[in-house]
C-alpha cells in the first residue's frame, strides 16, 4: 500500500490521493482524445456508446450505490431525456440547449418521483419505481402528443460548424465530454456535505435525521440529480438509435443499468464506469458467441437475458464489491507484494438488522 504522509487537509479533500495518479489519468485522457483519429469508425461509435452507457450508470450509481435508493425503472428517465431531445431539436432549438433541456426535464420528473419516495421504505420504493417506469413507457408509446404521432420518432442530427454531433467523431467527443462532466460533478458532490448526506441516508437514515439531514429534500435531490444525468444519457442514446420508440427503453434497459451498477461495484464512481465497459464488451461477445452455439439456442433475447441474469447472480454471490472492488484488490496485491494478505479486504459481515418491529 502506498503510504501518504499528510500535512494538510487539502490532501484529503483533493480528488486524487497520490500525485502520480494525475499522470495516469492524464495519459488516459490523452489516449481517449486521440483514439478516434486512429481507429476505424465502427469502433469509435462503439466506444461512444460505452460512454453513453457509463453516463447512465453514473446517474444510477449516485442514487442506488450512494444513497441506497433502489430504482428498478431508471430507463424511464433515459426515455424522457431522449424524447425531449428529439422534440427540442425538431423544434429548432440548438444542440447544447436541447441537451440541457433533456437533463432538466428528466430531473424535474425525478423530483416528482422523489417526493413519494420519502414515505416509502426501500422495498416499496423499488416496486413503485418499477410501476412508474411501466406507466411512463406506456404513456410515451400510446400518447400521440408525446410521440408526435409517429411510430418511430426520428432524431435530427445536429451540426456545429460543419461537424456532425449526432454521429461519428463529433458524437464521440460530445459523449466523452458529458461523461467527464458527470463524473466530475459526482466526485465533487461526494467530497462535499451533500454527498456525505447521501451516504448517511443509505447507511442509517435514523442517524442522518438526528444529524440534521432533511430526509425529504435529500432524497428528492438524489432522485433529481440521478434522473437528470439519466436524461442526458437518454438524450445521447437518442442520437445513437436515431429513431425513437418507447420500446427501446424497456425493462431490459433498466436491468442493464442495474447490472452496470452492481457489476461495477456499488458505492464507487469508478465502478460505474467499469460496469459500463463490462456491458459494452458483453453484448458484442454474446453476439459473437451465437455463431458458435447450436442453432437451437436461438432467440437472441433469450440468450442475452439468461447471460445477464446469471452474471448478476454471480456477482452478488461471489463478487459483492464488484469490478471496482476486484480492481482495488489486484492493485493492493501488486503494491503490497509480497506482503499482500487476503484478509485485508475481508469485510466484517455487517449483518442486516431486521426491518421488522419485534
Amino acid at each position: 500500500m502506498r503510504y501518504v504522509f499528510k500535512t494538510s487537509h487539502d490532501q484529503d479533500i483533493d480528488l486524487l490521493r497520490h500525485k502520480q495518479d494525475w499522470g495516469w489519468y492524464a495519459a488516459l485522457a490523452a489516449l481517449l482524445l486521440a483514439l478516434p483519429l486512429a481507429i476505424p469508425a465502427y469502433h469509435v461509435s462503439e466506444l461512444a456508446f460505452v460512454f453513453v452507457l457509463a453516463i447512465g450508470s453514473v446517474g444510477l450509481m449516485l442514487l442506488t450505490g450512494f444513497t441506497g435508493l433502489i430504482s428498478l425503472g431508471h430507463a424511464a428517465f433515459l426515455l424522457i431525456g431522449a424524447y425531449v431531445e428529439a422534440h427540442a431539436l425538431r423544434a429548432g432549438i440548438p444542440f447544447p440547449v436541447s441537451l440541457a433541456l433533456a437533463g432538466l426535464a428528466a430531473g424535474a420528473i425525478g423530483i416528482l418521483l422523489g417526493l413519494p419516495a420519502l414515505r416509502l421504505s426501500g422495498l416499496y420504493l423499488a416496486i413503485a419505481t418499477l410501476a412508474f417506469s411501466a406507466i411512463v413507457e406506456h404513456l410515451f408509446a400510446h400518447w400521440k402528443f408525446l410521440s408526435a404521432g409517429e411510430a418511430f420518432l426520428s432524431v435530427p442530427n445536429p451540426a456545429i460548424g460543419g461537424v456532425r454531433l449526432g454521429s461519428g467523431i463529433g458524437y464521440y467527443y460530445v459523449a466523452l465530454a458529458v461523461l467527464a462532466g458527470s463524473i466530475l460533478l459526482s466526485l465533487n458532490l461526494l467530497r462535499a456535505p451533500l454527498g456525505r448526506a447521501f451516504i448517511a441516508l443509505r447507511d442509517s437514515p435514523i442517524a442522518a435525521v438526528t444529524l440534521g439531514v432533511p430526509l425529504a429534500r435529500t432524497k428528492a435531490t438524489a432522485f433529481a440529480l440521478s434522473a437528470a444525468i439519466g436524461g442526458l444519457a437518454g438524450a445521447l442514446y437518442a442520437h445513437k438509435i436515431s429513431s425513437l420508440t418507447a420500446d427501446s427503453f424497456d425493462v431490459l434497459l433498466s436491468l442493464k443499468l442495474l447490472m452496470m451498477v452492481v457489476v461495477g461495484g456499488l458505492g464507487s464512481i469508478k465502478g460505474a464506469v467499469l460496469g459500463a465497459v463490462f456491458l459494452g464488451l458483453l453484448d458484442p461477445a454474446i453476439a459473437h458467441a451465437k455463431d458458435y452455439l447450436p442453432p437451437r439456442i436461438a432467440g437472441q433475447s433469450g440468450l442475452q437475458l439468461a447471460v445477464y441474469g446469471l452474471i448478476l447472480v454471480f456477482f452478488v454471490l461471489f463478487e459483492p464489491q464488484g469490478l471496482a472492488g476486484r480492481w482495488a484488490k489486484i492493485k493492493a496485491y501488486f503494491q503490497g507484494f509480497p506482503i499482500y494478505r487476503r484478509a485485508m479486504f475481508k469485510r466484517t459481515k455487517a449483518y442486516m438488522s431486521s426491518e421488522r418491529m419485534r
Binding site: 479533500i13 462535499a192 456535505p193 454527498g195 447507511d203 435514523i206 442517524a207 444529524l211 440534521g212 439531514v213
Partner: protein
Amino acid sequence: MSLLRVDDLSLWFGGVRAVDGVSFDVEPGEVFTIIGPNGAGKTTVINLLSRLLSPRAGRVSFDGQNLLSVPPHGVIGRGIARTFQNLELFEHATVMQNLLLGRHTHRATGFVSEMLFLPHVRAAERAHREKVEAVIDFLDLHRHRDSMVAGLPYGVRKNVELGRALASEPRLLLLDEPAAGLNPEETEDLAFWIEDMVADLGVTILMVEHDLALVNEVSDRVLVMNQGQAIARGTPAEVQRDPAVIEAYLGA
C-alpha cells in the same frame, strides 16, 4: 434558567404506558442521568427528546423554546445531539466521513456550488475538518481516521458515535447507555471524557445509564424511572437510599 424543561411527558401505545407523566429539569453544565430497570421507558424519553417520537401529552422546552414543534431533523439545529443504544453508525463510510457528518448541521454551502466545488466549498471543507480534528484529538481516534467503520472494535465504534455527536458542537448531549459493552478501562476513559466535555466544551449531558459506578462518579443529579414513571430524583447518594428505588430494583 434550566436548559431543558420536561413537563408531564407521556406516551402510551395501546395499553402500555411507556412514559407516564415524567417531569424533570436539566441545568446548564450539569450531568443528569436517568436510571431504572429495563423497560422503564428511559430510551423512550431520549427518543421523545430527539423528536423521533411524539408524545401524547406533556411539554418540553429547550432554552426557553418549545421543542415539540421542531421536526426530527431540526433538533440538532437547536443544539441537541444524541447517541444510540445500539449504535447507528454509517457502516460503509470511514470514521472521518462519519465525524464530518456530525458537522452537517453547520453546512453553509448549496448543492450547486458543491457540484462545482467552488473555492468557498473547499474553504468550508477545511474548516469542517479542523473542527473534526479537535474531536479526533479529544477522543484519541487518530489511528482509525481513514478506516471503514464496519470492521472496527466495539469500543472504538462507540467513540466514533460519540465523536460524531460532539462534532456538531452541541449544547446538550443525549447519551443512551454510553457505557454499555465497555470494559473497565474504557469506562474510566468515558468518565474522564464526560467530565472534560462539561468542563472544557461547555456541554450539558443527559444520559441513560445502567453502570451505577459510572453514574455515581460523574452525575450531578439522577432521575429514577420505573414502568414509565419517575419515582425518585436527587443526587446519586440520595437516590440510592430512597426506599422506592430500592424496591424497584430489588423487589417484586
